[in-house]
């Protein structure tokens, strides 16, 4: 199955193009800004020390889905989660549960989580992230 992966974090320049791409991912309803973005490049206390890119790593037993009281987050076959937006209460239990801090709160209080669609990878100008086949 295909997954979003980090190829070489040392090449991350912190431009955030992945983050903006994530907001545009819906062809029907692209957004401008970072509200619905589910990926976040951050520095290690200053980009001179390097970067890290935060997004869902598609856990086999996702803690976020386990704490979701409304069934908005469901484990996906092969890892990761499916997000059913209209079931989401905005309780943010999932935000607390994720060890990677990879669940983000949107402007409207609901959440954003990476579903490994790979749209962002096409906009990484420096080959930091890639969308590729991995073993399940």
């Amino acid at each position: 199955m295909k997954r979003l992966v980090v190829e070489d974090i040392e090449k991350c320049v912190g431009c955030g193009l992945c983050m903006f791409a994530c907001s545009r991912r819906s062809a029907k309803n692209p957004e401008i800004g970072n509200s619905s973005s589910a990926i976040l490049p951050v520095s290690l206390s200053g980009f001179e020390r390097g970067a890290t890119v935060i997004f869902c790593r598609a856990c086999e037993e996702p803690p976020c889905a386990q704490v979701c009281p409304s069934g908005a987050l469901k484990p996906k076959k092969g890892g990761g989660v499916v997000y059913v937006e209209n079931l989401c209460l905005g309780c943010h239990y999932c935000v607390e549960a994720c060890t990677l801090n990879a669940i983000f709160v949107r402007e409207d209080g609901k959440i954003a989580v990476c579903i490994h669609c790979g749209y962002c990878a096409d906009y990484c100008p420096h080959g930091v992230i890639a969308y590729k086949e991995v073993e399940a």
């Binding site: 431009c15 903006f20 957004e31 970072n34 100008p125």
Partner: protein, 578 residues
Amino acid sequence: MRDAVLIIDLDNYTYEVEHRPELFEKWLGGTGVAVQLMREHMNPKADPLSPENVIVFATGPLTPAYPLASKTVAMFKSPLTGNLGESHAGGRTAVSIAAAGYGAIVIKGASKKPVYLVVENDKVYFRDGRVLWGIPDSLIVGRIIAENEPGRGTRTMMRIGGAGEKLVRYSCVTTETYRHFGRLGLGAVFGSKKLKALIVRGRKKYLPTDAKKYREVYDEIYKIAIESDAMKKYHLLGTAANVIPLNELKALPTRNLKAARFERAEDISGEALAEYNLGRRIACSHCPVACIHLAALRLPYENEPYFFRTIMISYDYELIYSLGSMLGIGNRDDLLRLIHRVETYGLDAMSTGVCLAWATEALERGIVGEKDTLVKLAFGDVEGYLKAIDFIYEQPTEFYKHLAMGVSHAAEVYGGKEFALAFGGNEMPGYHTGYAAVLNYLIGMRHSHLDSAGYSLDQKAKELSPEETIDRLIEEESWRQTLSSLVVCFFARGIYTPEVISKALEPLSHSISPDELKKLGNEIYREKARLKVDLGFNLDELSIPKRIFETPSLHGKLSEDFVRKALDYYRKKLREML
């Protein structure tokens, strides 16, 4: 359309939000909007360091919709020149202001005690800044605030170092550690308002009115940015790529412009820095180019073997000129140490270098003595300059108090105006290319080389008359008003043509034709010129340091007569325009 203006009042610790659709519709954003907000909020006679001065930060309609359009325009009354202050910076500032929901932020009044401000969506927090006040190192200030404030990865943090607190008239505001509202003394305005930092964060979304078209135009712009050569120069060596070409053209100001060619230019060139020091490259938000080049400097501890410290230092052409060739510094490590020291205090590198170059020559000529400078300043001697930078911040003697007010002021007090390299009160940038550059420094609204790129015109056209030169400079500066209202990075001006801009604005429900965009540039130019005149700008008061006419440029020795004719013509044009 983003039409909210956040107005923060430091006198009373209050704030309000105004929605101004008509303002943004007419003037786009950035420079265009900032000029109008300055008009509305500031008394033109205000003392720049009094609470009456106003700071405007304005972003444009292309932020954060498209790449290469993430700059913020800061406008204020300059404590360095006493006239219009305008400075642009990248980093994450524009994107964060947009994410918090604002087109512009206006800061008025002055706090009684040190504060720092946090803007989070529709709230403003006035935070106690007393503990941070007095920390001279802007890097440390940044780190402390970063530990205390959320928003990692999406916030912007604009702050001053010690130079701003001490009201050095050419202190800057640093954002995201390596980008600066560098010129004309915004740092001192922050300092006078007891404002140590401004943090902005948010998570607002915007929707295009035409989803399909928006994604198409985005991809088109992204593709040009990635695949064409339009930005290759900035991508590879960064702006430091200019060192060798300008030196070869005899246009690289050296040792206070006693020469325009530096024999050690290769040692401090973009090529040499890339080969020996380049440690990492980083980008402004939403920019694939990553022109910010960081040098890794490894410094040993002299008395402690096997102890080293490695610091990362952002370098650009202007810094290499002002703290390198201008000071006769040809050793890369020395140059990087000077850049780092200037960065620490939050000084403008160009102004600092020019001030030190003048001070060195003034000492050589005996118009000032070592009792004034406290240290023997000599071209090429890094240790003296490092100490002198400390003294610009500490101001231990009358001499440094004056030097902290700019080179024009210092030369007014001590003499040596003929080699005090400033124009309209702003220290010169690193291009001694010819008439267009000199005229650009004189008549440019910010007295900045970026106003109208005279240095570039000098390289492209050699046979222009005084009148043609002025016309070309006004034309370029007018178009740049449109770009800096959008606000597009000037490095991407080759990508954002009038046609592309018009196309990009359409799915954002902003319909404006390429021709209208050009006309708007002329209008903003006129509005800005009016503001500048209201603030007291007088062409007749401009003086030109004689040194400019003594040292041959790319165009050979420059004649005063040519410059005078050009200025007469500009005076006429300006009168017609106003």
